[in-house]
Subunit: 137 residues, 3 copies
Protein backbone atom coordinates (compact mmCIF):
# COMPACT_ATOMS: atom_id res chain seq x y z
CA UNK A 1 0.00 0.00 0.00
CA UNK A 2 1.20 3.49 -0.86
CA UNK A 3 0.23 6.74 0.83
CA UNK A 4 0.73 10.38 -0.05
CA UNK A 5 0.17 13.57 1.98
CA UNK A 6 0.02 17.20 0.92
CA UNK A 7 -1.22 20.44 2.44
CA UNK A 8 -2.80 23.30 0.52
CA UNK A 9 -2.72 26.79 2.04
CA UNK A 10 -5.30 29.51 1.44
CA UNK A 11 -5.78 33.08 2.58
CA UNK A 12 -9.00 34.51 1.23
CA UNK A 13 -9.51 38.26 0.92
CA UNK A 14 -13.11 38.08 2.09
CA UNK A 15 -14.59 36.56 5.21
CA UNK A 16 -16.53 34.04 3.17
CA UNK A 17 -15.29 32.55 -0.11
CA UNK A 18 -15.73 29.48 -2.30
CA UNK A 19 -12.63 28.29 -4.16
CA UNK A 20 -12.45 25.52 -6.78
CA UNK A 21 -9.47 23.38 -5.69
CA UNK A 22 -10.01 20.45 -8.07
CA UNK A 23 -6.81 21.03 -10.06
CA UNK A 24 -4.74 20.99 -6.84
CA UNK A 25 -6.23 17.66 -5.82
CA UNK A 26 -5.76 16.18 -9.29
CA UNK A 27 -2.12 17.21 -9.20
CA UNK A 28 -1.66 15.62 -5.78
CA UNK A 29 -3.18 12.33 -6.98
CA UNK A 30 -0.81 12.36 -9.95
CA UNK A 31 2.20 13.02 -7.68
CA UNK A 32 1.10 10.16 -5.41
CA UNK A 33 1.53 7.63 -8.22
CA UNK A 34 -1.51 5.81 -6.83
CA UNK A 35 -3.68 4.12 -9.47
CA UNK A 36 -6.47 2.60 -7.34
CA UNK A 37 -7.47 3.94 -3.94
CA UNK A 38 -9.17 6.72 -2.02
CA UNK A 39 -8.34 10.42 -1.72
CA UNK A 40 -9.38 12.24 1.45
CA UNK A 41 -9.59 16.04 1.19
CA UNK A 42 -10.46 17.85 4.43
CA UNK A 43 -10.40 21.31 5.92
CA UNK A 44 -7.86 21.36 8.78
CA UNK A 45 -9.71 24.29 10.37
CA UNK A 46 -13.11 24.18 11.99
CA UNK A 47 -14.67 27.19 10.30
CA UNK A 48 -14.11 25.96 6.74
CA UNK A 49 -15.48 23.18 4.54
CA UNK A 50 -14.40 20.98 1.70
CA UNK A 51 -17.36 19.94 -0.44
CA UNK A 52 -18.15 18.76 -3.96
CA UNK A 53 -20.61 20.52 -6.24
CA UNK A 54 -20.92 22.56 -9.41
CA UNK A 55 -18.62 25.46 -10.33
CA UNK A 56 -21.36 27.89 -11.34
CA UNK A 57 -21.22 31.50 -10.16
CA UNK A 58 -24.94 31.78 -9.38
CA UNK A 59 -24.87 28.62 -7.30
CA UNK A 60 -22.03 29.96 -5.15
CA UNK A 61 -24.20 32.99 -4.38
CA UNK A 62 -27.14 30.69 -3.60
CA UNK A 63 -25.03 28.73 -1.12
CA UNK A 64 -23.85 31.92 0.50
CA UNK A 65 -27.35 33.41 0.67
CA UNK A 66 -28.74 30.19 2.12
CA UNK A 67 -26.07 29.88 4.80
CA UNK A 68 -26.13 33.56 5.75
CA UNK A 69 -29.94 33.53 5.85
CA UNK A 70 -30.06 30.51 8.13
CA UNK A 71 -27.02 31.31 10.30
CA UNK A 72 -26.35 35.04 10.06
CA UNK A 73 -22.92 36.36 10.95
CA UNK A 74 -24.57 39.01 13.15
CA UNK A 75 -26.69 36.54 15.12
CA UNK A 76 -26.32 35.85 18.85
CA UNK A 77 -23.87 33.01 19.52
CA UNK A 78 -22.65 31.84 22.91
CA UNK A 79 -19.32 31.03 21.28
CA UNK A 80 -18.81 34.72 20.63
CA UNK A 81 -18.84 35.44 24.37
CA UNK A 82 -15.30 34.00 24.38
CA UNK A 83 -14.18 37.03 22.36
CA UNK A 84 -14.46 35.22 19.02
CA UNK A 85 -16.78 36.56 16.32
CA UNK A 86 -17.12 33.38 14.28
CA UNK A 87 -19.91 31.41 15.95
CA UNK A 88 -21.79 31.49 12.66
CA UNK A 89 -18.82 30.04 10.77
CA UNK A 90 -18.66 26.93 13.00
CA UNK A 91 -22.31 26.18 12.17
CA UNK A 92 -22.02 26.98 8.45
CA UNK A 93 -19.10 24.61 8.16
CA UNK A 94 -21.14 21.76 9.68
CA UNK A 95 -23.90 22.27 7.12
CA UNK A 96 -21.49 22.18 4.17
CA UNK A 97 -19.27 19.40 5.62
CA UNK A 98 -15.61 19.03 6.63
CA UNK A 99 -14.32 16.57 4.06
CA UNK A 100 -14.83 14.62 0.89
CA UNK A 101 -13.56 11.20 -0.11
CA UNK A 102 -13.04 10.65 -3.81
CA UNK A 103 -12.32 7.31 -5.44
CA UNK A 104 -9.08 7.12 -7.41
CA UNK A 105 -9.40 4.92 -10.50
CA UNK A 106 -6.73 4.50 -13.18
CA UNK A 107 -4.68 7.19 -11.44
CA UNK A 108 -7.43 9.85 -11.65
CA UNK A 109 -10.24 11.31 -9.55
CA UNK A 110 -13.24 9.12 -10.39
CA UNK A 111 -15.80 11.86 -10.95
CA UNK A 112 -19.24 12.27 -12.45
CA UNK A 113 -19.72 14.89 -15.18
CA UNK A 114 -19.99 18.05 -13.04
CA UNK A 115 -18.23 17.19 -9.80
CA UNK A 116 -15.74 19.81 -8.64
CA UNK A 117 -14.01 20.06 -5.26
CA UNK A 118 -14.47 23.34 -3.38
CA UNK A 119 -12.87 24.93 -0.37
CA UNK A 120 -15.62 26.80 1.48
CA UNK A 121 -14.24 29.51 3.77
CA UNK A 122 -16.51 31.02 6.43
CA UNK A 123 -13.94 32.93 8.50
CA UNK A 124 -11.14 33.91 6.17
CA UNK A 125 -8.60 36.70 5.78
CA UNK A 126 -5.95 34.54 7.46
CA UNK A 127 -3.86 31.52 6.44
CA UNK A 128 -5.68 28.23 6.64
CA UNK A 129 -4.97 24.72 5.43
CA UNK A 130 -6.54 21.81 3.56
CA UNK A 131 -5.14 18.28 3.91
CA UNK A 132 -4.97 15.80 1.04
CA UNK A 133 -4.23 12.17 1.94
CA UNK A 134 -4.25 9.52 -0.75
CA UNK A 135 -3.95 5.80 -0.01
CA UNK A 136 -3.96 2.87 -2.39
CA UNK A 137 -1.72 1.14 -4.90
Amino acid sequence: MKSYREELWFETKTRRAYLNITAHVEAAVKKSGIQEGLALVNAMHITASVYINDDEAGLLIDYDDFLEGLVPQGGAYRHNETGEDNGDAHIKRQLMGREVIVAVTNGKLDFGPWEQIFYGEFDGRRKKRVLIKVIGE
Copy 2:
Protein backbone atom coordinates in the same frame (compact mmCIF):
# COMPACT_ATOMS: atom_id res chain seq x y z
CA MET B 1 -4.41 -4.35 -1.48
CA LYS B 2 -7.50 -5.09 -3.58
CA SER B 3 -9.91 -2.60 -5.08
CA TYR B 4 -13.32 -2.94 -6.69
CA ARG B 5 -15.46 -0.44 -8.63
CA GLU B 6 -19.08 -0.55 -9.67
CA GLU B 7 -21.66 1.97 -10.88
CA LEU B 8 -25.35 1.85 -10.09
CA TRP B 9 -27.79 3.64 -12.40
CA PHE B 10 -31.11 5.14 -11.37
CA GLU B 11 -33.90 6.98 -13.13
CA THR B 12 -36.61 8.01 -10.69
CA LYS B 13 -40.14 8.72 -11.87
CA THR B 14 -40.52 11.70 -9.54
CA ARG B 15 -38.37 14.78 -9.15
CA ARG B 16 -37.50 13.82 -5.58
CA ALA B 17 -37.16 10.22 -4.38
CA TYR B 18 -35.46 8.19 -1.65
CA LEU B 19 -34.31 4.69 -2.65
CA ASN B 20 -32.88 2.03 -0.36
CA ILE B 21 -29.76 0.78 -2.16
CA THR B 22 -28.29 -1.33 0.66
CA ALA B 23 -28.70 -4.66 -1.16
CA HIS B 24 -26.81 -3.31 -4.19
CA VAL B 25 -23.90 -2.21 -2.01
CA GLU B 26 -23.86 -5.51 -0.11
CA ALA B 27 -23.71 -7.37 -3.42
CA ALA B 28 -20.82 -5.18 -4.61
CA VAL B 29 -18.86 -5.86 -1.42
CA LYS B 30 -19.41 -9.59 -1.89
CA LYS B 31 -18.26 -9.40 -5.52
CA SER B 32 -15.15 -7.47 -4.44
CA GLY B 33 -13.93 -10.39 -2.36
CA ILE B 34 -12.62 -7.86 0.17
CA GLN B 35 -12.81 -9.03 3.80
CA GLU B 36 -11.41 -5.99 5.65
CA GLY B 37 -11.49 -2.47 4.28
CA LEU B 38 -13.63 0.55 3.44
CA ALA B 39 -16.52 0.98 1.00
CA LEU B 40 -17.15 4.42 -0.46
CA VAL B 41 -20.62 5.02 -1.91
CA ASN B 42 -21.17 8.43 -3.53
CA ALA B 43 -23.57 10.20 -5.81
CA MET B 44 -21.78 11.02 -9.08
CA HIS B 45 -24.21 13.87 -9.70
CA ILE B 46 -24.43 17.10 -7.79
CA THR B 47 -28.17 17.21 -7.17
CA ALA B 48 -28.34 13.82 -5.43
CA SER B 49 -27.17 12.37 -2.12
CA VAL B 50 -26.08 9.07 -0.66
CA TYR B 51 -26.84 8.89 3.05
CA ILE B 52 -27.43 6.34 5.81
CA ASN B 53 -30.54 6.29 7.93
CA ASP B 54 -33.69 4.31 8.70
CA ASP B 55 -35.95 2.77 6.04
CA GLU B 56 -39.23 3.98 7.51
CA ALA B 57 -41.88 5.48 5.23
CA GLY B 58 -42.84 8.30 7.60
CA LEU B 59 -39.23 9.36 8.02
CA LEU B 60 -38.76 9.65 4.27
CA ILE B 61 -41.71 12.07 4.21
CA ASP B 62 -40.19 13.98 7.15
CA TYR B 63 -36.91 14.38 5.28
CA ASP B 64 -38.73 15.56 2.20
CA ASP B 65 -40.93 17.99 4.14
CA PHE B 66 -37.94 19.37 6.01
CA LEU B 67 -35.86 19.89 2.86
CA GLU B 68 -38.70 21.35 0.82
CA GLY B 69 -39.70 23.63 3.72
CA LEU B 70 -36.19 24.99 4.11
CA VAL B 71 -35.18 25.09 0.44
CA PRO B 72 -38.36 25.17 -1.65
CA GLN B 73 -38.23 24.14 -5.28
CA GLY B 74 -40.11 27.31 -6.21
CA GLY B 75 -37.75 29.66 -4.38
CA ALA B 76 -35.57 32.30 -6.03
CA TYR B 77 -32.14 30.90 -6.93
CA ARG B 78 -29.42 32.68 -8.90
CA HIS B 79 -28.44 29.30 -10.34
CA ASN B 80 -31.79 29.15 -12.11
CA GLU B 81 -30.94 32.29 -14.10
CA THR B 82 -28.69 29.99 -16.18
CA GLY B 83 -31.83 28.29 -17.48
CA GLU B 84 -31.65 25.46 -14.93
CA ASP B 85 -34.53 24.89 -12.54
CA ASN B 86 -32.68 22.90 -9.90
CA GLY B 87 -31.05 25.49 -7.64
CA ASP B 88 -32.95 23.98 -4.73
CA ALA B 89 -31.62 20.50 -5.50
CA HIS B 90 -27.97 21.62 -5.22
CA ILE B 91 -28.66 22.93 -1.71
CA LYS B 92 -30.77 19.95 -0.59
CA ARG B 93 -27.99 17.61 -1.63
CA GLN B 94 -25.46 19.48 0.52
CA LEU B 95 -27.69 19.13 3.58
CA MET B 96 -28.11 15.37 3.11
CA GLY B 97 -24.51 14.74 2.00
CA ARG B 98 -22.76 13.35 -1.10
CA GLU B 99 -21.26 10.13 0.18
CA VAL B 100 -20.95 7.56 2.91
CA ILE B 101 -18.01 5.42 3.92
CA VAL B 102 -18.86 2.07 5.45
CA ALA B 103 -16.40 -0.24 7.16
CA VAL B 104 -16.10 -3.72 5.64
CA THR B 105 -15.49 -6.39 8.30
CA ASN B 106 -15.44 -10.15 7.66
CA GLY B 107 -16.55 -9.47 4.10
CA LYS B 108 -19.71 -7.57 5.09
CA LEU B 109 -20.94 -4.01 5.63
CA ASP B 110 -20.18 -3.33 9.31
CA PHE B 111 -23.51 -1.80 10.30
CA GLY B 112 -25.43 -0.92 13.43
CA PRO B 113 -28.93 -2.34 13.86
CA TRP B 114 -30.91 0.07 11.67
CA GLU B 115 -28.38 1.48 9.22
CA GLN B 116 -29.54 1.42 5.60
CA ILE B 117 -27.93 3.16 2.61
CA PHE B 118 -30.18 5.50 0.65
CA TYR B 119 -29.93 7.27 -2.67
CA GLY B 120 -31.61 10.66 -2.26
CA GLU B 121 -32.68 12.16 -5.57
CA PHE B 122 -33.56 15.87 -5.73
CA ASP B 123 -33.70 16.37 -9.51
CA GLY B 124 -34.69 13.07 -11.04
CA ARG B 125 -36.57 11.80 -14.06
CA ARG B 126 -33.28 11.20 -15.89
CA LYS B 127 -30.49 8.64 -15.68
CA LYS B 128 -28.02 9.28 -12.88
CA ARG B 129 -25.25 7.25 -11.28
CA VAL B 130 -23.88 6.17 -7.91
CA LEU B 131 -20.26 5.01 -7.56
CA ILE B 132 -19.19 2.17 -5.26
CA LYS B 133 -15.46 1.82 -4.61
CA VAL B 134 -14.20 -0.79 -2.16
CA ILE B 135 -10.57 -1.03 -1.08
CA GLY B 136 -8.96 -3.44 1.35
CA GLU B 137 -7.83 -7.04 1.55
Copy 3:
Protein backbone atom coordinates in the same frame (compact mmCIF):
# COMPACT_ATOMS: atom_id res chain seq x y z
CA MET C 1 -2.40 -3.73 4.55
CA LYS C 2 -3.47 -3.77 8.19
CA SER C 3 -6.91 -3.11 9.61
CA TYR C 4 -8.19 -2.51 13.12
CA ARG C 5 -11.74 -2.36 14.52
CA GLU C 6 -13.05 -1.11 17.82
CA GLU C 7 -16.45 -0.12 19.21
CA LEU C 8 -17.07 2.63 21.72
CA TRP C 9 -20.24 2.50 23.84
CA PHE C 10 -22.05 5.52 25.25
CA GLU C 11 -25.14 6.06 27.36
CA THR C 12 -25.80 9.75 27.85
CA LYS C 13 -27.89 10.98 30.79
CA THR C 14 -29.66 13.58 28.68
CA ARG C 15 -31.61 13.20 25.46
CA ARG C 16 -29.10 15.38 23.60
CA ALA C 17 -25.38 15.49 24.42
CA TYR C 18 -22.05 16.32 22.77
CA LEU C 19 -19.06 14.22 23.92
CA ASN C 20 -15.43 14.75 22.98
CA ILE C 21 -14.19 11.28 21.97
CA THR C 22 -10.81 12.30 20.52
CA ALA C 23 -8.75 10.50 23.17
CA HIS C 24 -10.61 7.24 22.48
CA VAL C 25 -9.89 7.50 18.76
CA GLU C 26 -6.25 8.39 19.35
CA ALA C 27 -5.90 5.32 21.59
CA ALA C 28 -7.48 3.10 18.92
CA VAL C 29 -5.08 4.39 16.27
CA LYS C 30 -2.16 3.65 18.59
CA LYS C 31 -3.45 0.12 19.27
CA SER C 32 -3.85 -0.45 15.52
CA GLY C 33 -0.11 -0.03 14.96
CA ILE C 34 -0.97 1.69 11.67
CA GLN C 35 1.44 4.47 10.68
CA GLU C 36 -0.09 5.68 7.38
CA GLY C 37 -3.74 5.27 6.50
CA LEU C 38 -7.30 6.38 7.14
CA ALA C 39 -9.44 6.19 10.28
CA LEU C 40 -13.22 6.00 9.89
CA VAL C 41 -15.27 6.97 12.94
CA ASN C 42 -19.05 6.61 12.56
CA ALA C 43 -22.17 6.50 14.65
CA MET C 44 -23.69 3.01 14.38
CA HIS C 45 -27.11 4.43 15.27
CA ILE C 46 -29.23 6.64 13.10
CA THR C 47 -30.11 9.32 15.65
CA ALA C 48 -26.51 10.20 16.50
CA SER C 49 -23.60 11.89 14.75
CA VAL C 50 -19.83 11.83 14.72
CA TYR C 51 -18.41 15.19 13.70
CA ILE C 52 -15.25 17.27 14.06
CA ASN C 53 -15.22 20.75 15.51
CA ASP C 54 -14.05 22.83 18.47
CA ASP C 55 -14.37 21.74 22.10
CA GLU C 56 -15.76 25.03 23.42
CA ALA C 57 -18.71 25.01 25.80
CA GLY C 58 -20.51 27.96 24.19
CA LEU C 59 -20.26 26.41 20.74
CA LEU C 60 -21.89 23.18 21.96
CA ILE C 61 -24.83 25.29 23.17
CA ASP C 62 -24.92 27.09 19.81
CA TYR C 63 -25.11 23.78 17.95
CA ASP C 64 -27.87 22.59 20.23
CA ASP C 65 -29.83 25.85 19.93
CA PHE C 66 -29.46 25.85 16.16
CA LEU C 67 -30.61 22.24 15.76
CA GLU C 68 -33.47 22.52 18.22
CA GLY C 69 -34.58 25.81 16.64
CA LEU C 70 -34.63 24.35 13.15
CA VAL C 71 -35.91 20.85 14.00
CA PRO C 72 -37.70 21.04 17.36
CA GLN C 73 -38.20 17.87 19.38
CA GLY C 74 -41.87 18.78 19.81
CA GLY C 75 -42.54 19.32 16.11
CA ALA C 76 -44.90 17.20 14.01
CA TYR C 77 -43.08 14.26 12.41
CA ARG C 78 -44.67 11.45 10.43
CA HIS C 79 -42.03 9.12 11.85
CA ASN C 80 -43.53 9.62 15.30
CA GLU C 81 -46.83 8.11 14.14
CA THR C 82 -45.03 4.74 14.39
CA GLY C 83 -44.93 5.22 18.17
CA GLU C 84 -41.39 6.64 18.13
CA ASP C 85 -40.74 10.12 19.52
CA ASN C 86 -37.42 10.78 17.79
CA GLY C 87 -38.34 12.11 14.34
CA ASP C 88 -36.38 15.25 15.16
CA ALA C 89 -33.28 13.24 16.05
CA HIS C 90 -33.13 11.55 12.62
CA ILE C 91 -33.08 14.97 10.95
CA LYS C 92 -30.61 16.56 13.40
CA ARG C 93 -28.21 13.69 12.80
CA GLN C 94 -28.30 14.27 9.03
CA LEU C 95 -27.38 17.94 9.49
CA MET C 96 -24.39 17.14 11.73
CA GLY C 97 -23.29 14.05 9.75
CA ARG C 98 -22.83 10.33 10.45
CA GLU C 99 -19.08 9.92 10.18
CA VAL C 100 -15.66 11.45 9.85
CA ILE C 101 -12.57 10.17 8.10
CA VAL C 102 -9.27 11.29 9.57
CA ALA C 103 -5.89 10.79 7.94
CA VAL C 104 -3.37 8.80 9.97
CA THR C 105 0.19 10.08 9.49
CA ASN C 106 3.23 8.87 11.44
CA GLY C 107 0.91 6.79 13.62
CA LYS C 108 -1.21 9.76 14.72
CA LEU C 109 -4.45 11.52 13.82
CA ASP C 110 -3.39 14.14 11.27
CA PHE C 111 -5.25 17.13 12.67
CA GLY C 112 -5.30 20.89 12.33
CA PRO C 113 -4.86 23.00 15.46
CA TRP C 114 -8.39 22.85 16.88
CA GLU C 115 -9.88 19.68 15.43
CA GLN C 116 -11.60 17.45 18.00
CA ILE C 117 -13.87 14.46 17.33
CA PHE C 118 -17.32 14.61 18.90
CA TYR C 119 -20.12 12.15 19.42
CA GLY C 120 -23.38 14.05 18.98
CA GLU C 121 -26.30 12.30 20.64
CA PHE C 122 -29.85 13.35 19.72
CA ASP C 123 -31.84 10.51 21.32
CA GLY C 124 -29.83 9.28 24.27
CA ARG C 125 -30.44 7.74 27.67
CA ARG C 126 -29.74 4.27 26.25
CA LYS C 127 -26.66 2.35 25.16
CA LYS C 128 -25.41 3.28 21.70
CA ARG C 129 -22.25 2.59 19.75
CA VAL C 130 -19.57 4.28 17.65
CA LEU C 131 -17.42 2.27 15.24
CA ILE C 132 -13.73 2.96 14.65
CA LYS C 133 -12.13 1.26 11.65
CA VAL C 134 -8.52 2.02 10.74
CA ILE C 135 -6.87 0.75 7.57
CA GLY C 136 -3.35 1.32 6.31
CA GLU C 137 0.18 0.18 6.98
